[in-house]
Amino acid sequence: MEKWYLMTVVVLIGLTVRWTVSLNSYSGAGKPPMFGDYEAQRHWQEITFNLPVKQWAKFINPDWIALHTSRGYESQAHKLFMRTTVLIADLLIYIPAVVLYCCCLKEISTKKKIANALCILLYPGLILIDYGHFQYNSVSLGFALWGVLGISCDCDLLGSLAFCLAINYKQMELYHALPFFCFLLGKCFKKGLKGKGFVLLVKLACIVVASFVLCWLPFFTEREQTLQVLRRLFPVDRGLFEDKVANIWCSFNVFLKIKDILPRHIQLIMSFCSTFLSLLPACIKLILQPSSKGFKFTLVSCALSFFLFSFQVHEKSILLVSLPVCLVLSEIPFMSTWFLLVSTFSMLPLLLKDELLMPSVVTTMAFFIACVTSFSIFEKTSEEELQLKSFSISVRKYLPCFTFLSRIIQYLFLISVITMVLLTLMTVTLDPPQKLPDLFSVLVCFVSCLNFLFFLVYFNIIIMWDSKSGRNQKKIS
């Protein structure tokens, strides 16, 4: 494409921001004996390097870990090595996917594509977690993005392969699995189950099974080993939620201690049912009317449903919702920017624990400025821009005075931002009262949860009311 040099500048800016954030503290720095995610990753390197595959999942004996003298190893050179591995993984997998995705966007100018890439690469949540707190989310999110790219561009087989790799890298990607499944199934139906559709279905099934087998082959030697892996991946014993997270159950817990009242299996059933009930409409719609736009929005609403209602959700799981929202940044810039700001804010307690206040504030401001400059988001708040036109027309059939939807949304945005800024200031400057030591974390989670519920409703509305204009407009990839 023309102006490749501008895209290079954008990527370099993204890399610079990532590297400067990595200068800061990481999760569990200097905090024995538990340390944090940084130590977890180092520990996994230790295991996989030193032990044969058979024993990777066998960690029942805690003494074994203590024998290794490298536990809790922290040094400047080691930190540099760890940070570099994150950067390289990012550079090889996630960043090319973002660049390619933006280049493949249709019906927008080159400058807007580059601006889009800049905004996605500046998204603070991923940078702070990967380069600050320390994790390797960019690998799984990158693979998922390659999957989305493949499927949107009709390279279904490669897309599925990429997504299988994503799932096998990090099981959280299962949040995205249903939309992939429904979209591909819908495509097969559309092509006709008796002809090409069936062939496609078979091919996809083969690819998925093959990639899973390849990844899991070393662990299939013993049944007990496979079960052990599964137990590690899906720790249902840990409870409905851990720590403070911005989902329904934690917020509910503030008023009614459901974690303590209800028995474990009831909690499991409750969570399962509410998750699936909330994502069912969008998924069914996607099977019946597969479209690339619907696919992306369904990714958002599915992941958000899982985040809000699922079992043992961590705050970082919001990144799985943020990725699809980044993908629809060009279509609904105002709402996407708002969501991405809230998602970063929802991780505030975690970031403060890792002493990442300065990078958080700076990257959030940089992201906000980039979005406002690139998309002029404050001028795109009309009903049409928010994709709520068909919805408000339907509502106006029953309530003719319903004309102030965009005004309401603007006010909600202002209230949300003011609340977030105030809570941030309070958390940083004030000490919580002695009787309620977790007051600020709980407040942050509660406010974020309310915001997320609003977004869940909003995204579902877009998906469901897209049908009427979907058939008339030409297909927008």
């Binding site: 954030v21 300065m358 700076v362 400025i369």
Partner: protein, 400 residues
């Protein structure tokens, strides 16, 4: 919503650039910093804890005060803000004290002072005429100049990583250049005089200022062929320029004159004992000279022309700041470097006098003066190259 847009200052690409680079500077806070960090902390301590009479005599730390008095007053004012961050940094005996609050305060002080630099860049942009080129933002001279100056990576690395206060000083210089372009000569002269008393390294470019102001301001008109019209000499202008410089210098050096400390101040400001080259060589002519001397001495030793006993022990490449003698080539004295520098700037000065081309000619002469002084000066730091780079940016953009 419109108010919010204006509040975030993003209706304007210049604000976005300035805000963006400021955010980057904030991200650079936890990076490495050099001994210059301790230098400035020490100066905060000296100016805060000691009376003026002690400022240029204090030597508890090896990093003695070697900038002119205005910079000392600047540190004094800063120290009154510093005491709210961390009182301990203002203790002269707390050598190498760098608590996180000290770091935060010092870094933020540099970032804050850069406001002057941003303002100066804005003023320089106003002097550029960008109407001829097309609509594309990235092709507008103003945009290019702003990016090259605001996001100047040399300045970013030296100021926000290595740690120095060059930003606002360059801001003063760019502002004085802008004023000269805008034909506000008295302001330009005043700003330059003030700048000299902040950091005397700007003496490198003083000849350009002196000659330009004398030729193009004190002589109010030219003959039709461009040469000097002696009768148009304006005494009023000369006297007012002189008065401005004199008043600024009096304000700066006056107190020390009263205390009879001028020789001491000058010995601190111009430490000729530090040697021809800095600890790490600036890539100037004397670096080549030293290298040649080294090569010749090695050859001489091999071919037995030189007696090993006669070769002095002090090595130029040891990373130390000291005086030494050359072995094969003649040793260089400060006077020799001065003469070389003067010879180097003579052509551009002549052009400025005999064929004045207004502010553009002045800018070119300024760049050349800076570059020549860098090339042939005594004890030049590598950072001094910024003095030549930044004015060059404006020159390049004017020719676009």
């Amino acid at each position: 919503m419109a108010a919010l847009t204006i509040a975030t200052g993003t209706g304007n690409w210049f604000s976005a650039l300035a805000l963006g680079v400021t955010l980057l500077k904030c991200l650079l806070i936890p990076t490495y910093h050099s001994t210059d960090f301790e230098v400035h902390r020490n100066w905060l301590a000296i100016t805060h804890s000691l009376p003026i009479s002690q400022w240029y005599y204090e030597a508890t730390s090896e990093w003695t005060l070697d900038y002119p008095p205005f910079f000392a007053w600047f540190e004094y004012i800063l120290s009154h803000v510093a005491k709210y961050f961390d009182q301990e940094m203002l203790n002269v005996h707390n050598l190498n004290y760098s608590s996180s609050r000290t770091l935060l305060f010092q870094r933020f002080s540099v970032i804050f002072m850069d406001v002057l630099f941003v303002y100066a860049v804005r003023e320089c942009c106003k002097c550029i005429d960008g109407k001829k080129v097309g609509k594309e933002l990235t092709e507008k001279p103003k945009f290019i100049l702003s990016v090259l100056l605001l996001w100047n990576f040399g300045l970013l690395i030296v100021d926000h990583i290595h740690f120095q206060y060059n930003g606002f000083l360059f801001g003063l210089m760019l502002l004085s250049i802008a004023r000269l372009f805008q034909k506000r000569h008295m302001e330009g002269a005043f700003l330059f005089a003030v700048l000299l008393h902040f950091k005397h390294i700007y003496l490198y470019v003083a000849p350009a200022y002196g000659v330009y102001l004398l030729r193009s301001y004190c002589f109010t008109a030219n003959k039709p062929d461009g040469s000097i019209r002696w009768k148009s000499f304006s005494f009023v202008r000369v006297i007012s320029l002189g008065l401005v410089v004199f008043l600024v210098s009096a304000l700066s050096l006056g107190p020390f004159l009263a205390l009879n400390q001028l020789p001491q101040v000058f010995s601190r400001l111009f430490p000729f004992k530090r040697g021809l080259c800095h600890a790490y060589w600036a890539p100037n002519f004397w670096a080549l000279y030293n290298a040649l001397d080294k090569v010749l001495s090695v050859i001489g030793l091999k071919l037995k022309f030189l007696d090993p006993n006669n070769i002095p022990k002090a090595s130029m490449t040891s990373g130390l700041v000291q005086q030494f003698q050359h072995t094969v080539l003649p040793s260089v004295t400060p006077l020799a470097t001065l003469i070389c520098t003067l010879i180097a700037i003579l052509p551009s000065i002549f052009c400025l006098w005999f064929k004045p081309q207004g502010p553009r000619g002045f800018l070119r002469c300024l760049t050349l003066c800076a570059l020549s002084s860098f090339m042939f000066g005594w004890h030049v730091h590598e950072k001094a190259i910024l003095l030549a780079i930044l004015p060059m940016r404006i020159g390049k953009n004017k020719d676009v």
